[in-house]
Structures are given as C-alpha cells and as structure tokens.
Assembly symmetry: C2
Homo-oligomer: 240 residues x 2
C-alpha cells in the first residue's frame, strides 16, 4: 500500500511536533480518497466510521433541521481536519460533509483514533486546540447573529471566506470554490433573496463582482469597513 509523503502533511496543525518517523507510522493507517464535486463525504447521523484531513479541494459541513432547513456549519479548507466525531466522543456524525469541489482527503478509520492517541498523546492536545479554535469561531458567530444585522453578517462571512479560501485574481480576491447565494444565506441565517439583494447592491457599488456560484471581492477594505461599522453614530454614509 502506497503511503502519503510525510512532507505533505508535516506542517498541519494536527501533526505539529511530529517527526518523519512518527508521521509515517500514522500515515500508514490512512488511505487517500477522492470525492467528485457535489458528492457527499459522509452524512449527518451515519456512524462515524472515519475521520479526515482535507488535502485538496473544499468541503462544506451542514446540519439539517427537522423541518428540512439546512444550515452551513463551516467550510473546510485544505489542511484542516474534519469528521472527528469519534475523537470528541460522538458515535455518529453530527453534520453532513459534502465536497463542493473535486477534493482529495486522507481518511483514517475511527477505530484507529484511540490507538494513535495512546501512542502519540500530542494528537489529543493538537486536536484539543483545533476544536478549541472552532468553538471560538462558533461563539463569534453566535455573537454576530445576536447583535448584528444581516448586511454586516454577510460582509463578515465573505471576508472570512476570502481569508480562508481566497485566491488573488486580477480585480481582487476570488472565493476559491463554487458558492451560491443560498449557501451564503445558510451561513448567515438569512434567506436567499435577502443575500441576493445585498450582493446586487454591493455589485452596483463596485464592492464585489458576482456571477453564478462565484464571488470576487473587488474592494475588501470597503467591505471591512462595512462589516465593522460601529452602528452607534459616526455620521457615515448609507443608502445612495
């Protein structure tokens, strides 16, 4: 069985502090799997057979409510771990993971986790930090949803996506995977229609450039100002 080149993953947070020797030991247990665009990596409620590291592409994690509404939990960028349900004590995946672009992942059977952790305790502390960061981010999201109105939330979402998965293009920064208005709505707790209206507005103001499942930030700084605007009162500009 051909294992993955350790140098490809040595820099990942999950493997911080590991040497080539140990990495090989860990990588031997993994297999690399390809997922075509729009195909599911795993589904909410399935038992958590594997945990993953994304090597290439982008993966979207969503939760579905009993009423059938979907909410985007997060977007996974290359290098990040996902599907670590077992590590946090869940027998089933709490969300659905979908490849939004052709993607390549490393997959470990969940059963290997306890053994790996026993042998390499740093895996647990590294994962603890990763999950901790995610908790922080999710709290930030709660705070935003509690205190900001939709336009600012959308601005924050775009800036975050650009930071995480932005690609420099001629006229600005393009979000490096297909993302629809609907997706953004599900990230920010609003509706497709409201997002569309907001983005249309921004496009006419030259802040962004839109397209089908495509967004380019042309004026990230102006977006940032919009996102951080202290609603208090600073005699700023609104509504042309």
């Amino acid at each position: 069985m051909a294992t993955v080149d350790p140098s490809l993953v040595a820099h990942l947070p999950l493997f911080a502090g590991f040497g080539t020797e140990e990495l090989n030991d860990i990588l031997r247990e993994a297999r690399s799997v390809r997922f075509a665009r729009n195909s599911p990596v795993f589904e909410e409620g399935q038992d958590a057979h594997s945990f993953f590291v994304l090597l290439h592409g982008h993966v979207r994690a969503t939760k579905t409510t009993p009423a059938g509404e979907q909410v985007v939990v997060r977007y996974v960028a290359p290098g990040e771990t996902f599907g670590v349900a077992m590590a946090i004590g869940l027998p089933r995946y709490p969300a659905t993971a979908t490849a939004v672009d052709d993607s390549v992942v490393l997959a470990w059977p969940s059963t290997t986790w306890p053994r790996l952790v026993a042998k390499f305790p740093a895996l647990a502390t590294n994962t603890l930090q990763t999950i901790g960061s995610r908790l922080q981010e999710t709290h930030t999201r709660v705070v935003e949803m509690s205190t900001q109105q939709v336009e600012r939330r959308v601005a924050h979402a775009l800036l975050r996506l650009a930071k995480q998965s932005g690609r420099k293009v001629e006229h600005g920064i393009e979000i490096d995977f297909p993302i629809s208005r609907q997706d953004i709505a599900q990230m920010t707790g609003t509706t497709l229609h409201t997002v569309s209206r907001i983005l249309s507005g921004w496009e006419s103001r030259g802040l962004i450039e839109g397209g089908r499942q495509r967004i380019v930030l042309r004026e990230p700084h102006k977006l940032f100002v919009l996102a951080e605007a202290t609603s208090g009162e600073d005699g700023s500009l609104e509504r042309p």
Copy 2:
C-alpha cells in the same frame, strides 16, 4: 494547605477514569476559592492565569461586543469546567465569567496544565470530549438562531436551563439561580422587551410563573411542544 476530598470530584467528566491516588496528585495543585454573588471570576481579555471547576453555585460566561452589547455564552453548572483557555491554546480568556450566585470553585494555575496533561494524558482526552460537547451545543444554538423565531428560541433556552439547573418545586421546575429577562435576551439574541412580552404571555397562559430574577416552569411539556412546534410542516422540500 488542606486539599479537596477526592470523592467530591471523582465523578466529574474531567476526572473520568482517575483513581484516588491520581486525584490527590491533581488536587494538590488546586485551591478552592469562594466568589460572592455578582462578583467576577475573570474578565474577557485578561491573561488566562487559571482554569476552574465549579463546585457549588452558578457562573455566567459572557462576551462583550466592541459596541458594548453583551451576549451570554453559557451558564456553568456545578461539576463543569470553565476558563480552560490555556488548554485550547488561548493566552487570554475569551469571555468574562461572573458568579451569578455565591459560588465555590477549584482553581488550578494554568501553568500546571501542561505538566498535568503530560502526566495524565486522560485529562486531554476528557477535556477534548467536554469541549466537543460544547461545540455541539453551540452549533445547535447557531442552527436555532438561523431557523427559529424568537418565541421558540426562548422556549428552548428555558427548557435547557431547567434541564441543566432546574430544581423541583411545588408547582413545577424552578431555575436554580437568579436570572433576569435581560439575561434570557442575551442568551437568545433578542431584547429585554421582547422576552418580557413573551414571558408575560406565557404566564397569563399558566405555562410559567415569573418573578424578579426568578422563573418557574409550570407546564414544561407545553413549553416543549411550543419549542418543537413544526409550524411549516412539510418534511421534504429542498435540494442542495
């Protein structure tokens, strides 16, 4: 210095799988501290000098926005850990912790964490599970805020508080610590006024019984129905 009786904490998730011997080893590093009602345990932005286990009382964790709005991150019940910033790699506390009732905590200097983890790797995995659960809960909250309207969110919040810190009383279940309308507003992302209106409505319907910083659930089941009510009721309509 008198150490804490191991039998008092042996059942806590943080110490799952530990024997008396090991517990004494760990407890020797801690000191027990009392906080009067409404006094701060630590403040957002302070460096994370200690981590804690709540032995008695109740603690509220809040984040404050640049604009000065507060959001309640969670309520800590006896037996839970809090202030574990250092364990998840944060040099400063990401939130403010306030004793909402006279409380007693066990406090370890954050510097002891690495040493304790090195000696007792189970601490890391136990904490990983705890943080994982919190991440789950926070995601649930995001989903609720994204999809449900205020009344249902408030119902959920009350039910959760009752489950976590409810005390059986003659006429129902009372939330076991002082909690204001404002607090509930900050938990659910709405305003004091809206919460007050909702609770007044429920009180006149006999669902709850209110008072100053006091809430008794008289008809938890009816509240539950309200919280879970599938208003739209379809079952399947959407395509990712």
